[in-house]
C-alpha cells in the first residue's frame, strides 16, 4: 500500500490545491484533502498544512486555526512520531499549536513579499530533508507578510545544537547575509523542525516549484525526501 498524504483545509487555506496537484498529479502519490472538521486521521502516513490565511488570520496568523477540530488529532499524530509538514500559514499554525518552537511575526519591511528565494540546507537529519545535502542551495518561492521567525537566544542555541534549523535564507553563493533575508527572521531561519525531527515548518512554498514550466523543480527534492523516508522498510 502506498503512502497516503493528508492535505489540511481550514477556511481561508489556499495552497491546498497546489499541494494536492504536486503530490498526486506531478509525483503520482496518494493524497487527499482533510477538512478542518475531520478528526479521524488514522488512514494518513503524512500530514501537510498548506499556506493561506486560515480564518483570515485577523487575530494572529494561525492563532484561530490552532483550535480547529482537526488540530487535536494532528497534535496526537505528531506526538506519536507521524510526519507533519507546514508551509507558510502551516508553519505559523504549527508554532501556534506548540509543535514547533518560536513564533512568526510581521515581516521587518511591514510588507507582504512574493519572490523567489535561495535557501541553504542547514541539516538533513529529518524525513523532509533526508534526500538533500547539507549546504545545498535550493531556490523556492516565498509569499507571506508574517514570516519573520523569532526565538530567544537560549532556545536558538538549543535548536542549533539539536540540529533543528532546517533551512536558512542565503544569497546565490550560499552565504547567510542580511541582504538575502527577506523578512528579518532570526539567523535567517526559513524552516525548522521539532526536536525529534518529525515536524517541519517552513515559510517557502515547495509545492510551487515542482515542474520546469513553473520555473524550477527544487520543491520536488523536498517532497521526494518525505516520500522516500516513508517508504523505507523500517517505516
Amino acid at each position: 500500500m502506498s503512502n497516503k498524504f493528508g492535505v489540511l483545509v481550514f477556511p481561508g487555506t489556499w495552497s491546498e490545491g497546489d499541494w494536492l496537484y504536486a503530490l498526486s498529479e506531478v509525483m503520482g502519490l496518494n493524497a487527499e484533502y482533510v477538512f478542518h472538521k475531520q478528526t479521524n486521521l488514522h488512514e494518513f502516513d503524512c500530514l501537510v498544512i498548506p499556506g493561506g490565511f486560515s480564518y483570515g488570520d485577523y487575530l494572529r496568523p494561525g492563532a484561530i486555526a490552532r483550535f480547529s477540530p482537526v488540530m487535536g488529532s494532528l497534535i496526537k499524530f505528531a506526538n506519536a512520531g507521524g510526519p507533519v509538514v507546514g508551509s507558510c500559514n502551516g508553519f505559523q499554525v504549527l508554532c501556534e499549536a506548540g509543535l514547533l518552537p518560536g513564533a512568526l511575526i510581521r515581516n521587518k519591511s511591514l510588507e507582504f513579499r512574493c519572490q523567489s528565494q535561495n535557501l541553504r540546507v542547514a541539516n538533513n537529519n529529518s524525513p523532509f530533508t533526508s534526500e538533500l545535502d547539507i549546504d545545498e542551495i535550493l531556490s523556492l518561492p516565498i509569499s507571506h507578510g508574517d514570516g519573520n521567525y523569532f526565538v530567544d537566544e537560549q532556545t536558538l542555541a538549543q535548536m542549533e545544537s539539536n540540529g533543528q534549523i532546517a533551512f536558512q535564507y542565503c544569497n546565490s553563493d550560499g552565504e547567510i547575509t542580511d541582504e538575502s533575508n527577506p523578512n528579518g527572521s532570526v539567523s535567517n531561519i526559513a524552516g525548522v523542525t521539532n526536536e525529534s525531527g518529525n515536524v517541519l515548518g517552513l515559510m517557502p512554498h515547495p509545492e510551487r516549484v515542482v515542474e520546469q514550466i513553473l520555473g524550477g523543480t527544487d520543491g520536488l527534492k523536498l517532497l521526494a525526501s518525505i516520500n522516500n523516508f516513508l517508504s523505507r522498510p523500517e517505516n
Partner: protein, 735 residues
C-alpha cells in the same frame, strides 16, 4: 414631498427624471421607490450616457459563448470543454476617498462578478493611475491602493499576475483603480443570472447587510468629486476571508445542480442584483426586508435595499432545493437565507413588517433613460495638435536622457509593487510579472495557456481620442501576440470625465469608435466592460483613459516566446517603422513629457499595419523563429532594447544604421506597431522574407553580446548601470 430636492440630490436623479418616473408609474414614488430608481438609473447601473455608444462594440465571434451585457461578464469557449470569463471594472471614486478599502473592495467586486458565472477566479490584473509622486497626497493614494490590493488579493488565493501603473498630473487627486479578473470554468457548469421560474426562492449568502456604501452607485460613482463633501461613509469595508469562503461555497453550489441562477451584490446592493435577475427572467419578485440578515437593528427598508455591504451573493433556488443549499453553505460556516420569492407579476414588491413599502413595474425600474448628450470637439485639440516639436538636444546628453527615461516611474520596474502581490498561487503562472509583456497562465488540463495583458495610454487618447482608443486595443492585443498567443477577446474600462459636458462626450464617442475599429481589424470581440464617468476634481476632467484587457490562447506553453534576450550572438531586429524617423514620433511620447514637460502633438496610427504585425508575430512564433519578442512602447527603441537586456541579463551591440540627425527621435521616439525581436543569425533572412510578405518594414539593429550596452557611437554603458537605474526608479520617485 417637502424635501424632494434633497432626495433627488441624494439619489443623483434630475428633476426631469423625477417627472419621467411620475409619468411612467402614474403617481409620486415614495422615498424607498425613489431610492430604487436612483440606484438603477445611476450611470453606474444604468449606463444612461454611454449605452448607445457601447452598443457599437463588436461583441461576437465563433468563440463567444455568452455575449457582453447578457450576464455579469461574457464567456469565451476555448475548447476542451473549458470556458474563460474575464472582466475589468473600476473602483476609482471609492479609492480616491479611502484608498486601501476602495482598492480592496474593487478586487472583491470583480472577483464576485466572475464567481457569479460559476467560474473559479484564476488571475487578477490591475491598471492604476496616479498623479505625480512629487505630491504627498498622490504618494498616500499610491501606497494605500497597493496595500489594499495586496491585503485583499493575497488573502483570497487568486494570483495577481500583471498590470500597469502610470503617473501623470491629470490624475492628481483622482486616481484610477481598474481591476480585472479572469475565471476558468467547465462550460457545462456555466451559471446564469436570470430568475425564470416563478415560485423560486431568493436566497442571500455571505455577509450581513450593514449601513455601509449607501448611495455608492448613485452618489459616489455617478458624480464628480467635491472636496467639501465627506464621502468616506459611502465606501465599504472588505472582508477578504469571507470572500475566500464565499468563493469555495459558491463554486460548490454552482456545480451541485441545486442553484438555478447566481448574481453578485455589487453596486446598489440588493436592489440591482435582485432586479437584474428578475428583469432578465421576465418575472417579478416579492421581497421581505425583515428577512435580510442585518448587522445592526433599526435599519430602514431604504438602507437595506441600497446598502453596498461587501461579500454577499444572491442565489435563485427552487423550494425543493432550499435545504440542500443551506447545508452546502453550512459546510463553510456560511448562512444562506431566503428573503423572497420569484413571482409571475412582473412587479417588484418590497415588504416590511407585513406591509408593502414599494410596488413598481420591473421593466420601468430597470430601463434607465438613454441620453444622447451633445458632442463637441474640444478646443484644446487645435492648440495641442499644432505644437511645434522641440529640436534635438545636445548629443552629449544622450546617456543622461536615456537614464532619465529608464528611471521614469512610468517606465522603471514595478517590482516594488508586484512583489507585494502573490502572483503564483494556484501554480498556473508561467510568465510572471516583470518577465514579459503579458502574463501567461498554463491550463493544467493540457499544454495550452492563456496570455493576459492590460494596457492603455491616456496621453494618446487625450490628443486623439480615436487614435488612443484604437491603440489601447492594439497594444493589449500586441502584448499578448508577442508571447506567441492568439488574442481572442478583450474587456474594457472607460474612465472619463462628466459626459454631460459636450467635450467629454466627444472624447468618449471618438474613443469608442477607435476601439471598435481596432477590435474589427484585429478580430477580437469585446466580451465585458465597465464605464467610470464623472472622474473630475474641481471641475477638471482626467485625461480620457481607456483601459483594455486582452486575452489570448497559446496551444503549447513550451513554445512561449520570451520578452527578454536569451542568447549571446543573436541577431536583433526592429519590426515596424525603422530607424529613419523624425519628430513625427514625438507626439504623446514619454520622452516629450519627461524632457520637455509637454503632452502635445498629433499622434497617428495605422490599423492595417498593426493587424499585419500581429499576424506576422503569430506566424513566425509558430515556426519557432523567434528567441524573444518585446513590444516597443513608452521610451522608444532604446528603452525597449534596454528592457530586453536588463531582464535577460544580456548586452547589446547596436551595429545597425543608427545615423540620423534626429538621433533623439530614433532612440526615444514612440510609434505604434513596432516590436523588438531576436533570432538566430541563421534565420534572419527567413524572418525578413516573411516580413516582406506582410509588407512590414524590418531593420537589423545589431547583435546581443555579454554585458555592455552600445548603440553605434551614440551610447555606451554597462547593463549593470542600466539595471540599477531601472530597478531603483520607482523607489527614488517615492522617496
Amino acid at each position: 414631498m417637502e424635501n424632494l430636492q434633497l432626495l433627488l440630490e441624494q439619489t443623483a436623479l434630475t428633476n426631469d427624471e423625477y417627472d419621467l418616473i411620475v409619468r411612467k408609474i402614474g403617481r409620486d414614488p415614495n422615498v424607498l421607490e425613489l431610492g430604487l430608481f436612483g440606484a438603477l438609473w445611476s450611470e453606474h447601473c444604468g449606463y444612461k450616457h454611454s449605452k448607445s455608444l457601447l452598443r457599437t462594440f463588436p461583441n461576437d465571434s465563433e468563440a463567444v459563448k455568452v455575449k457582453a451585457g447578457e450576464e455579469n461578464a461574457g464567456v469565451i469557449d476555448i475548447g476542451d470543454g473549458l470556458g474563460v470569463v474575464f472582466k475589468i471594472e473600476s473602483h476609482n471614486h471609492p479609492s480616491a476617498v479611502e484608498p486601501y478599502q476602495g482598492a480592496a473592495t474593487g478586487i472583491g467586486g470583480i472577483v464576485r462578478d466572475i464567481l457569479a458565472m460559476g467560474a473559479r477566479p484564476i488571475a487578477l490584473l490591475n491598471s492604476l493611475r496616479f498623479g505625480e509622486l512629487s505630491k504627498a497626497r498622490n504618494r498616500y493614494l499610491f501606497e494605500g491602493v497597493v496595500a489594499g490590493i495586496s491585503g485583499y488579493g493575497n488573502c483570497i488565493g487568486v494570483p495577481n499576475v500583471g498590470g500597469e501603473v502610470l503617473f501623470a498630473p491629470s490624475y492628481d487627486g483622482n486616481p484610477l483603480v481598474n481591476a480585472m479578473c479572469v475565471g476558468l470554468l467547465q462550460i457545462d457548469q456555466l451559471m446564469r443570472s436570470a430568475a425564470t421560474i416563478p415560485g423560486s426562492l431568493l436566497m442571500v449568502v455571505g455577509s450581513a447587510t450593514g449601513r455601509d456604501g449607501i448611495h455608492g452607485a448613485s452618489g459616489l460613482a455617478s458624480r464628480s468629486f467635491d472636496e467639501d463633501r465627506e464621502m468616506r461613509p459611502t465606501v465599504q469595508v472588505g472582508d477578504p476571508f469571507l470572500e475566500k469562503v464565499l468563493i469555495e461555497g459558491c463554486l460548490e453550489a454552482a456545480s451541485s445542480g441545486y442553484v438555478d441562477a447566481m448574481q453578485d451584490m455589487g453596486a446598489a446592493g440588493l436592489t440591482s442584483s435582485v432586479m437584474e435577475c428578475v428583469a432578465k427572467g421576465g418575472t417579478g419578485v416579492d421581497l421581505n426586508v425583515d428577512l435580510v440578515p442585518r448587522r445592526e437593528s433599526g435599519m430602514s427598508a431604504y438602507e437595506i435595499m441600497l446598502s453596498e455591504s461587501q461579500e454577499r451573493m444572491l442565489l435563485i433556488v427552487q423550494p425543493a432545493n432550499e435545504e440542500h443549499v443551506k447545508s452546502l453553505f453550512a459546510k463553510w460556516d456560511l448562512v444562506a437565507i431566503t428573503i423572497g420569492t420569484v413571482t409571475s407579476s412582473g412587479r417588484a414588491r418590497i415588504y416590511e413588517e407585513g406591509k408593502i413599502v414599494a410596488d413598481l413595474d420591473i421593466p420601468t425600474l430597470v430601463e434607465a433613460p438613454i441620453y444622447q448628450p451633445d458632442s463637441r470637439r474640444p478646443a484644446y485639440l487645435d492648440e495641442l495638435l499644432n505644437v511645434a516639436m522641440p529640436p534635438a538636444p545636445n548629443v552629449k546628453d544622450v546617456l543622461k536622457i536615456f537614464k532619465l527615461l529608464l528611471a521614469s516611474p512610468n517606465i522603471s520596474s514595478k517590482k516594488q509593487v508586484y512583489s507585494r502581490y502573490d502572483h503564483e498561487v494556484q501554480t498556473r503562472t508561467v510568465v510572471k510579472p516583470g518577465e514579459g509583456d503579458a502574463a501567461v497562465l498554463r491550463l493544467k488540463q493540457s499544454t495550452r495557456g492563456l496570455a493576459v495583458s492590460v494596457d492603455g495610454n491616456a496621453r494618446y487618447t487625450y490628443l486623439s481620442p480615436y487614435v488612443g482608443g484604437a491603440m489601447a486595443v492594439a497594444e493589449a492585443c500586441r502584448n499578448v501576440a508577442v508571447t506567441g498567443s492568439t488574442p481572442i477577446a478583450v474587456t474594457d474600462c472607460l474612465n472619463f470625465g462628466n459626459p454631460e459636458k459636450p467635450e467629454v462626450y466627444y472624447q468618449l464617442q471618438e474613443c469608442i469608435r477607435g476601439m471598435s475599429d481596432a477590435c474589427r481589424s484585429l478580430g477580437v470581440p469585446v466580451i465585458s466592460g465597465n464605464v467610470s464617468l464623472y472622474n473630475e476634481t474641481e471641475g477638471k476632467s482626467i485625461f480620457p483613459t481607456a483601459i483594455v484587457g486582452a486575452l489570448g490562447v497559446i496551444n503549447d506553453c513550451e513554445k512561449l516566446i520570451p520578452t527578454s534576450f536569451q542568447n549571446i550572438g543573436d541577431c536583433v531586429l526592429l519590426v515596424g517603422q525603422g530607424l529613419n524617423i523624425d519628430e513625427t514620433s514625438m507626439p504623446a511620447s514619454e520622452y516629450l513629457a519627461r524632457m520637455y514637460e509637454l503632452e502635445a502633438g498629433n499622434p497617428h496610427f495605422d490599423l492595417q499595419r498593426e493587424a499585419s504585425l500581429q499576424k506576422f508575430l503569430l506566424e513566425v512564433g509558430a515556426l519557432g523563429l523567434l528567441n524573444s519578442a518585446h513590444d516597443c512602447s513608452e521610451g522608444g527603441v532604446a528603452v525597449a532594447i534596454a528592457e530586453c537586456c536588463i531582464v535577460g541579463g544580456i548586452g547589446f551591440n547596436g551595429t545597425g544604421d543608427w545615423q540620423n540627425p534626429r538621433w533623439d527621435t530614433v532612440l526615444f521616439g514612440e510609434l505604434p506597431s513596432r516590436v523588438i525581436v531576436s533570432c538566430d543569425t541563421a534565420v534572419e533572412n527567413q524572418l525578413m522574407e516573411i516580413a516582406l510578405r506582410y509588407e512590414l518594414p524590418i531593420t537589423n539593429l545589431g547583435i546581443t553580446k555579454a554585458e555592455d550596452f552600445t548603440i553605434d557611437s551614440l551610447l555606451t554603458c554597462s547593463i549593470h548601470e542600466l539595471s540599477d537605474v531601472y530597478y531603483k526608479g520607482l523607489d527614488s520617485a517615492l522617496n
